[in-house]
Every structure is written in structure tokens, then in C-alpha cells.
């Protein structure tokens, strides 16, 4: 086994993304948002009967929230795909056959160490926008589906490492006692090792979900109509007024914070439980 990667519970507890989010950050964000609204109000010329930042935001809110729904949809699908592929890849990484282990290691580290944006562009250009089905029909692949697939790749690679690390962190005695009870390697994994991994892998898995959800606005670069892209379009439509920039973006930050914070809380709770249990 090359390089013993161990899940250090305490390190996860202190260093994970989710463990660094605090409710105070939410307060600051909210205050900054309110401040920016006031600032935008002061900036606009009173002579012009122009709409205030807040009324513009309220007007475009449904449009932005529809976009946000797509962010969530992309994050759910990408996470599901990443989890299935990542577990498979992680299991291949601990395979005793070098023929399986080496490619799995390569794929894992390729996607783990590539910038997400590069992966996004790569998938956008490599995956065709339509597929000709055998029946002669044409299947269109919308951009948001391609982006979702692109986001799932780096998360898949990280889940692969989480799975490998969790399996390696199970004491060797578990394997030995299973072996002496005539369990095969596959049975040992299925019935004894993997069930014990779930608890250890859950907090880092949720951590990656949070990071994934926060990364989905990247898709706006490629014209996917998600929250950030829609907010930009809304500002454009409202006359591209520069004083709207800050309130709109701060609103987006608040939106994402409101979604991520409960996830972070829950992750932190699990992390603490895991540390205590050990």
C-alpha cells in the first residue's frame, strides 16, 4: 500500500471548510448587505425618478431565485454522480490488482489536483452538445447538464480519496478477525469495513457537498442561467447601474450563506460526534 493516508479526525474538525463557517459571518454579511443598500440609495441621483436598489432587487428576486434553484439542482445531481463514481474509484484504488489500482490512482489525482474551471472548460468542449441516437433522433445536452458533470469530476476524485482513507483507517485487526472467520475480501469490505467507514466518511463528504454547492455559480461563465448569471442579467436589465453591483452580489452571498450554514452546522456536529466516539 503506497502512502498511508489516514483520516485524522481532529484535523478534519479544525480544518474543514464547514468547521470554519460561523454564524457571525452571516451577521457581517447581512449588515454589509443592508449597508450597501443604504449606500446605493445615497449614490443614486434623487432628481431622476430611478428605482432604488431594494425595489429592483425585489422585482428581480423570482428570477434570481429560479436561478438559485438550478444551482441546487446541479449540486444535487453532481453530488449523486460524484458519490457513486467516487466510491467505485476509491474501491479500485485499494484493489490488489495493480492494473486496476494504477489507473484509479491516476484518475483520482488528475481530477483532485486540476482547477475546477479547467475541468469545466474541458468538459464543455469535449462533450458534444448533441448526441445522435441509434434511432436517428438527436439528443440535446443542455449546458447545465455538462456543467453538472464537470463539477462532479473533482468531487468524485476527492470522494475517492475519502473512501480510500476511511478504509485504510480501519484497524488491521478487523481484517484479520474477518479473515480468520472465513470471510472473503469482498465480504469483509461489504459487511465489516465499509459500514464502519460510513461514519468516518460522512463529515468530509458533506464538506465537499458544501464546496460543490458554492462552486456551481462558475457555470454562469458558460451561460448557464443560474443565480449569479441571472443576477448579472437582472442588473443589466435594470440599466447597468454601478451602485447596484455591491448590493446584488452581497445578496447572492447571503443567499448561499443561508443555504450552506445549516449544512456546515450539521457537519460540525457529526465531526464532533466522530471525534468523541474515538
Amino acid at each position: 500500500m503506497s502512502g498511508a493516508f489516514r483520516i485524522d479526525a481532529r484535523r478534519f474538525g479544525e480544518g474543514s471548510f464547514c468547521s470554519r463557517i460561523h454564524w457571525r459571518h452571516g451577521i457581517w454579511l447581512g449588515l454589509a448587505f443592508c449597508g450597501s443598500l443604504a449606500f446605493a440609495h445615497a449614490q443614486s441621483e434623487p432628481a431622476q425618478q430611478s428605482a432604488s436598489a431594494i425595489s429592483t432587487l425585489v422585482l428581480w428576486m423570482p428570477f434570481i431565485l429560479t436561478g438559485f434553484a438550478l444551482n441546487l439542482l446541479m449540486s444535487f445531481i453532481a453530488m449523486a454522480v460524484a458519490t457513486v463514481l467516487g466510491i467505485g474509484l476509491g474501491l479500485l484504488q485499494i484493489s490488489r490488482s495493480r492494473l486496476l489500482q494504477m489507473p484509479a490512482w491516476f484518475v483520482t489525482h488528475l481530477f483532485r489536483n486540476s482547477p475546477w474551471l479547467v475541468i469545466l472548460f474541458m468538459v464543455m468542449f469535449l462533450v458534444p452538445f448533441e448526441i445522435r441516437l441509434p434511432g436517428g433522433d438527436i439528443l440535446m445536452i443542455p449546458d447545465w447538464v455538462k456543467a453538472t458533470f464537470a463539477f462532479s469530476l473533482p468531487v468524485m476524485a476527492n470522494i475517492s480519496e475519502i473512501v480510500r482513507g476511511a478504509i485504510n483507517s480501519i484497524p488491521k485487526g478487523q481484517w484479520e478477525s474477518a479473515e480468520s472467520l472465513a470471510f472473503t475480501r469482498g465480504q469483509t469490505l461489504r459487511w465489516i469495513i465499509l459500514p464502519q467507514c460510513v461514519r468516518r466518511a460522512l463529515p468530509p463528504w458533506m464538506n465537499w457537498y458544501a464546496l460543490l454547492a458554492l462552486a456551481t455559480p462558475m457555470a454562469s461563465i458558460l451561460g448557464v442561467r443560474e443565480a449569479v448569471g441571472n443576477a448579472q442579467a437582472a442588473m443589466e436589465a435594470a440599466g447597468a447601474r454601478p451602485e447596484f453591483l455591491i448590493p446584488f452580489y452581497l445578496f447572492l452571498l447571503c443567499l448561499f450563506f443561508a443555504y450552506i450554514y445549516p449544512i456546515a452546522l450539521w457537519t460540525r456536529k457529526l465531526e464532533r460526534k466522530y471525534v468523541v466516539a474515538n
Binding site: 484497524p171 485487526g173 478477525s177 480468520s180 472467520l181 472465513a182 464502519q196
Partner: protein, 261 residues
């Protein structure tokens, strides 16, 4: 009720009969890299015999019994269990491990399963025996090691001695012909050592073939049919406990005993 011994030894080789040694170890050599841990060990164990292996740490005791059920492979020599050659590349490991149970120093119970589930798992999942039958047997085994009422406790909720007794029951659930005990009391609090030794003593009294690596000299003296002393990868001497503990011949044995007794 005899829970652990079969009237016939399962999977015995055609050339083997019950009056021959059930375990036969011949000139076994085992190295970990450059370190030779076993340097030509031979011993025989007959059915129903209780063997204690004692000796200084690092003398190869644990390695030797781990070789018997194939957890460690050997480089030279032969080990047969009921006529089945352990070192045979075509060895049916499943058959071997059904015949030979092992209990470890660190218990190694499955922490995500209750005591009862720990005992039931292998017979149900590996041997594919009917669940109801296995549960009955498992409950009887847990009662036998005096853990009635702890069936639904998780290993984390049990003391070391209790966990070790669950581990013994778990091994017995496979109905082995031979039980190996690898320093099973070494990690225990002194007050729980007794209950584990009692379980083993009862097992031995019922006729289970047992091989124990142990530092419990009083226990070895009481239950063993033969005591083996190993030092630096060889068996220095062996004999029935009365003779071994009082009239040891080899100076190394005498020195070891004087330090420990």
C-alpha cells in the same frame, strides 16, 4: 450439550484419521524480510489436547499460531491441520478457517454490530446457515461464556474481559475443531482476566483442542497437557506441566521461569 465439537472432523483429508495428530508442524521457517522469526519449529497436537506456548516476547510464539490458520504464510516446512496442508497453494482457505478458530489479544470485535450479531455474522453470511438456527446457537454460546443479557450490547459498551468472551463465542460459532488463543488476556485488566481464563478452562474440559500463547503460568500449569517453551525462533523444550515447571533441563528455560514465577 456440546456446542463446539463435531463428532466428525469436517473436511479431513482422506489420509488422516482421528488418532493421528490433528495439527502437525514440521520444521517451519518464517521470516519477515531479513528477520527470521521461526527457525525450524516442529510440534504435534492431538485431538482434545491443550497446548500452552510460553516464552519471551519476540520469540515467535504468536507468529507460530498465526501460521496455523494461514494468517501468516511460511517459507519452509509444513503445517497440516487434520491432514490438510496449510501451505498448499490450492488450499481451501474457507475449509481451513472453519476448522481453526482464533482469538486475538485485541479482541477485534466488529464495533458496529452487537454481541449477538458479532457471533452470528460468520455462520450466517459465510457458511449460509439458517438464521434461526444460528441465533439459537449464538445465544447458547453467549450464555456459555456467561454473558447472558449482553446480547444486544455493542462492543464499546462491554469491558475488555466481556469483549474477549464475545470473541471466544464468535469463534466457537463456526464450530471449529481447534481453537487458537493469541495472548488473549495480555490486554485485559487483572480483574477481568479470570473470567476469560474460566471460559477457556471450561472449553478445554469439554475436549476442545486448544493452543494457547500465554503469559499466565498458573493457568498453563493447571490446564495444559503440554507446555512448550520457545526462544529466538526455536522450541527449546517441552513437557507436561508438572515436569516442565519443576524440572526444566535447559538453562534458558530455567532462567525464563525464574524471572517470571
Amino acid at each position: 450439550m456440546s456446542l463446539q465439537t463435531n463428532s466428525n472432523t469436517r473436511g479431513a483429508s482422506p489420509g488422516w484419521s482421528p488418532d493421528m495428530p490433528i495439527i502437525s508442524i514440521r520444521d517451519v521457517h518464517k521470516s519477515f524480510g531479513a528477520l527470521e522469526v521461526l527457525k525450524g519449529v516442529s510440534l504435534d497436537v492431538r485431538k482434545g489436547e491443550v497446548i500452552c506456548i510460553i516464552g519471551p516476547s519476540g520469540s515467535g510464539k504468536s507468529t507460530l499460531i498465526r501460521c496455523i490458520n494461514g494468517l501468516n504464510d511460511i517459507q519452509k516446512g509444513s503445517i497440516t491441520v487434520a491432514g490438510q496442508e496449510v501451505n498448499d497453494p490450492k488450499l481451501d482457505l474457507l475449509a481451513l478457517r472453519r476448522k481453526v478458530g482464533i482469538v486475538f489479544q485485541q479482541y477485534n470485535l466488529f464495533p458496529h454490530k452487537t454481541a449477538l450479531q458479532n457471533v452470528m455474522m460468520a455462520p450466517v453470511l459465510v457458511l449460509k446457515e439458517p438464521k434461526k438456527e444460528v441465533e439459537e446457537r449464538a445465544r447458547a454460546l453467549i450464555a456459555k461464556v456467561r454473558l447472558q443479557g449482553k446480547e444486544d450490547a455493542y462492543p464499546g459498551e462491554l469491558s475488555g474481559g466481556q469483549q474477549q468472551r464475545v470473541a471466544i463465542a464468535r469463534s466457537l460459532a463456526m464450530r471449529p475443531d481447534v481453537m487458537l488463543f493469541d495472548e488473549v488476556t495480555a490486554a485485559l485488566d487483572p480483574e477481568t482476566v479470570k473470567e476469560v481464563l474460566l471460559a477457556i478452562k471450561e472449553l478445554a474440559a469439554e475436549g476442545m483442542t486448544c493452543i494457547l500463547v500465554t503469559h499466565e503460568m498458573g493457568f498453563a500449569r493447571e490446564v495444559a497437557d503440554q507446555v512448550y517453551f520457545t526462544d529466538r525462533g526455536v522450541i527449546v523444550e517441552h513437557g507436561p506441566p508438572d515436569q516442565f515447571f519443576t524440572k526444566a533441563n535447559d538453562p534458558r528455560t530455567r532462567q525464563f521461569l525464574s524471572q517470571i514465577l
